[in-house]
């Protein structure tokens, strides 16, 4: 299990170009679709949780998946796996290749690849959107938060506001029912077993 986790995150870390968000489609393809270590719902909930912590999304995602599947050792091998190739790649460039990297061929390849990265990220987010916005309440919430975010409100405040909204919805059932809280995916209740591996 530990070796498997390490290999998967080594691949994810070593092959993603374009930053942490670009890792989400890869993590989904590897962990959810191929290895079936997590369900789609668990994966999306982890994305939500990683967003509410500071730090690098991809590393947070690796840490959380590793910990979820194999405790502290799993967390450590996943974290090391995901950063080791990027770390060595940057060192290699810093030491030897800094001046060759900006050749026109590499630049145009990278431009194309970045457009591709953006597209696969957009794909994952669209699927996430279809899953989340199932009723008018959640569509409304998503639109309000999107407007706030586009207006330049910082992520941390949006997260705090979301937590407050959730608590308000719980303690004032009228509002909760109006916003459709608690009913987004009813099938997630069984996700806490933990020992299915």
């Amino acid at each position: 299990m530990l070796l498997e986790l390490f290999k998967v995150f080594l691949r994810i870390g070593g092959l993603t170009i374009g930053g942490g968000l670009a890792m989400l489609p890869l993590i989904q393809a590897e962990i959810v679709n191929r290895k079936k270590w997590l369900t789609e719902n668990e994966f999306f909930d982890m994305v939500c949780l990683t967003q509410s912590f500071p730090g690098v999304i991809a590393v947070n995602m690796a840490i959380m998946t590793g910990y979820r599947l194999a405790g502290i050792p799993g967390m450590l091998v996943s974290a090391i796996g995901v950063i080791i190739i990027p770390f060595l790649a940057i060192l290699l460039i810093a030491v030897y290749l800094f001046r060759y990297i900006q050749s026109p061929g590499i630049t145009s390849f990278m431009k194309g690849a970045m457009a591709g990265v953006l597209a696969v990220i957009t794909g994952v987010i669209l699927k996430l959107a279809l899953r989340i916005t199932r009723d008018t309440g959640s569509i409304l919430l998503a639109l309000i938060f999107l407007a706030l975010s586009l207006l330049g409100i910082k992520v941390i405040y949006i997260i705090i506001l979301a937590i407050a909204t959730g608590l308000l919805g719980y303690y004032v059932p009228f509002i909760g029912a109006r916003l459709g809280l608690e009913s987004v995916y009813p099938d997630i209740d069984t996700g806490s077993g933990g020992e299915e591996l």
Binding site: I17, G55, L167
Partner: protein
């Protein structure tokens, strides 16, 4: 040794306060490393950033590794990278451990169902800000649209799609 501890502490703080992923961390690196500590110049930093976009891995990690190397060689790069992920290691594990115990409480479910649309909104606005510098030509818009359709329509490996997109960019440039 004091320099290494200083690097560790600086990047630990950056990892701790970087809310909202890689670009938030990059903003903090700019303010800490360039404006406050003057470890590198902003011209160097821009080059590092371009490079970080092109190399595998999260941008914040790449940038930390590179800055650490510039400031204190190999030990510097190791310490900077460790520093930026240390808060995640501690916080995420603790919080997730805790979350697993309480995730079935009705309050937590209510919070999570408000969090999902919020995170969706955050991700959408992150994609919009990534799209601005990326979709700058007809070619890149075309590549974007084709890859998006392909990724929604068929279950293709995202890596394969990215490599194809890169090759398309190279080809379009050569023609």
């Amino acid at each position: 040794m004091t320099l290494l501890l200083d690097i560790l502490w600086t990047f630990f703080k950056i990892g701790l306060f970087a809310y909202g992923g890689g670009y938030a961390a990059v903003a903090l690196i700019i303010s800490e490393v360039i404006n406050t500590r003057h470890w590198i110049t902003s011209t160097d930093f821009l080059q590092i950033l371009t490079l970080a976009e092109m190399t595998p891995g999260p941008i914040a990690i790449n940038t930390a590794t590179f800055v650490g190397y510039q400031v204190a060689g190999l030990p510097g790069s190791a310490v900077a990278t460790l520093g930026i992920i240390l808060p995640s290691l501690i916080l995420v594990t603790t919080a997730f451990h805790f979350y697993r115990k309480i995730e079935n409480l009705a309050q937590i479910k209510s919070i999570m169902s408000a969090m999902r649309p919020a995170v969706l909104a955050i991700l959408i606005s992150a994609v919009i800000s990534l799209a601005k510098p990326t979709l700058t030509s007809i070619i890149s818009v075309a590549i974007f649209s084709i890859v998006l359709l392909a990724s929604l329509r068929f279950k293709l490996n995202p890596l394969l799609l990215i490599l194809l997109a890169g090759s398309a960019g190279l080809l379009a440039n050569a023609l």
